[in-house]
Subunit: 325 residues, 2 copies
Amino acid sequence: MANIKEIARIAGVSVTTVSRVLNNHPYVSPQKRAAVLATIEQLNYTRNMNAVHLITGRTGAIGVVIPNINYYYFSAILEGLAREALPAKYRLILCQTSYRPEEELQVLDMLRNKEIDGVVIVSTALKPETIEAYTAYGPVVTCQDSGERRFSSVYLEHYAAFWHGLQYLRNKGYRKIGYFEGRQHGSSSGLRQKAFGDFHRESGIPLHPEWIMFDCATEEDGAAALDRLWQMEERPDALIIAGDHVAAGLMIAARSYKIRIPEDLAIIGFDNQPIGRLLGLTTIDNQLFEMGAAAFRIIHDQINEDAPSPVYRKLDYRLIERTTV
Amino acid sequence: MANIKEIARIAGVSVTTVSRVLNNHPYVSPQKRAAVLATIEQLNYTRNMNAVHLITGRTGAIGVVIPNINYYYFSAILEGLAREALPAKYRLILCQTSYRPEEELQVLDMLRNKEIDGVVIVSTALKPETIEAYTAYGPVVTCQDSGERRFSSVYLEHYAAFWHGLQYLRNKGYRKIGYFEGRQHGSSSGLRQKAFGDFHRESGIPLHPEWIMFDCATEEDGAAALDRLWQMEERPDALIIAGDHVAAGLMIAARSYKIRIPEDLAIIGFDNQPIGRLLGLTTIDNQLFEMGAAAFRIIHDQINEDAPSPVYRKLDYRLIERTTV
């Protein structure tokens, strides 16, 4: 393998110029850049970036722990992340974990092994204490409320947002409320479940556990949950649904039952997705794009500017009134 | 930084045992593994993976060029890729390029720089000749038909699949066909456009260019395209739509116009997405998950088993009859 000195000699330029071309530095004349590139081509020179990383201690890469790429909530956060990472010239190393702790640990291990400069955890099955053990090796940001830990977080108050939605339904006169949720065991969904339980207790509205449907991840799950609900003797008159796409599936299925929305069944969604906008779905906007973008900005500043760490950033939610309540 | 010998000495085990623990080798007794891990913790030992990669020449990572994560067509391919990569213990280095050639070149440059073991190009703005120049550095697989190039490809015959859909509409008696498409300039969408033009020419059906709507990427774009169409004096009686989610947006918007489907307007989609299944949308299944999965298997075998390269794999399409034609 040719080295930089050899390239400089053959191209008739200085070693500094070769280095500048390799690093995409702007202050190189077009003639000299062309000469260097032609020489590189001729010598088939490859700069081994592993050696570069070994010397600089930076990789320009961030690990992303994401349970499932094809789920709107996560892919919207990822999109927000990627939009910021692109202009900042950071690569994202994506690990789809399906909530398997061993896969998540592997990404954290990459931080320990200096293969990446930081980790963004979109959603996790790990205990906060486990994540904390890795903060010695570099910055970590979670996209969920993990409490005041040794790592950063950017999060929505799922408890307050859900409570707000339930209060809205109650103010509109609804007292028989069902609830469709994704994962039963998860940090954010746990907060929503707690809000659902506490709200019923505090407002004295009877809670029907049979109207709580878990594992609603897709449009078809929403339709199937409505099928189960409509086979029951007693039915809710309102639903709160974590995921506008799940609500959309239910709304489409509701037509074959001739269910009028909101007269027979009011619906409030979560996420503010495009499909919900089209269907006139009343929903809670939880700023998913901004969550991903903010996570990137936090970790970027901690890597490059020694910004204070940890940072806890709470995002606002907003109820969007449309036509389904 | 402590070295392996030091860890072995303190833990009271052999250097081989330490090495096995670091490499997650199964044949280490639980006692010895615990001793090694405790010693590592105590010494805060970090194995620098960049040094490991420098020695082994392998990174266990594959670069993925993807224009947009949040677009169903691409995210479904990515999901197929990720599902295979996870059990094979490969990391995906994701680069969302927005079809910017300089971003795509950066991923190919990572291959040249030995930062990754291969590149999967989900969709590209680069010329095939440009991609060919990088095949000297490692395997490249595209998820589109690039012809018989020096890199591999796994692809759907978009021309034949679209022709099949148009033929189906014609056999059902439709002669006034409109067409919603994503990007106007793209390798796969170019093939679909050619099929649309050729089909009209060959079957003697007049083509209405004003019924071709480009840049239909989201549900809301589908709804907006219907708005434009319905302001026209002469309207199509059938539509072929690249993207079931775009068709879903149109179908939802069609209700406010009281358009009966298929009586007033027949619709055939593309992708076989969950939302289309719910809406009873007749569609063309183009095996997006399998495309991603096959791309991973091809590149994995080329990296690890010196499998023959390049490979060209054509996937089958299938028309799924439901209720919209």
